[in-house]
Symmetry: C2
Subunit: 95 residues, 2 copies
């Protein structure tokens, strides 16, 4: 697999890993999303003092309002986050 | 780095690798995008018989019409492609 195919495969694997823990294995519940963010992006929720952060993130991601975050909604979130962190990862790679 | 951070870092590295080969190191020209697709997604252009495919992809990605694909436009493309390939990567992982 090329580097870009690895990126796409790993993104899929991360989603599936957390989505499969509760009933609907094709979507993330709020609890699953919380676990995913805590494990995969440990600084994302903890840096803010906002206790309601997970609720806000979940509401924003759940675009169609079905109380589940589906794969498309998750991938758009990762894309947006990657854009925000572009400079951070460039500097990390340069070290 | 977590798996998801690795995904974000690798996506950034792929873009930078191809963006830096010509003048503007922050964007992909059509030639750079063509090389990226040929190397990173070898089946993406070659499976179609459409000789104009790269022009169509480039026009679609270059959302603001500046004849350059910037990081945001690239990341959205990868996100869309990852959604399309969701089942493919799940099956690959299951093997």
């Amino acid at each position: 697999m090329s580097q870009l195919e690895t990126v796409m495969g790993m993104a899929t694997a991360v989603f599936d890993k957390y989505a499969k823990t509760e009933d609907n294995t094709q979507t993330l519940t709020k609890a699953e999303l919380k676990t995913l963010l805590e494990k995969e992006l440990p600084n994302f929720l903890s840096t803010g003092k906002d206790k309601d952060a997970i609720n806000k993130v979940f509401r924003n991601l759940d675009e169609n309002g079905d109380f589940q975050v589906d794969f498309k909604e998750f991938v758009i979130f990762v894309a947006a986050l990657t854009c925000c962190c572009h400079k951070y990862f460039e500097q990390k790679a340069a070290k």
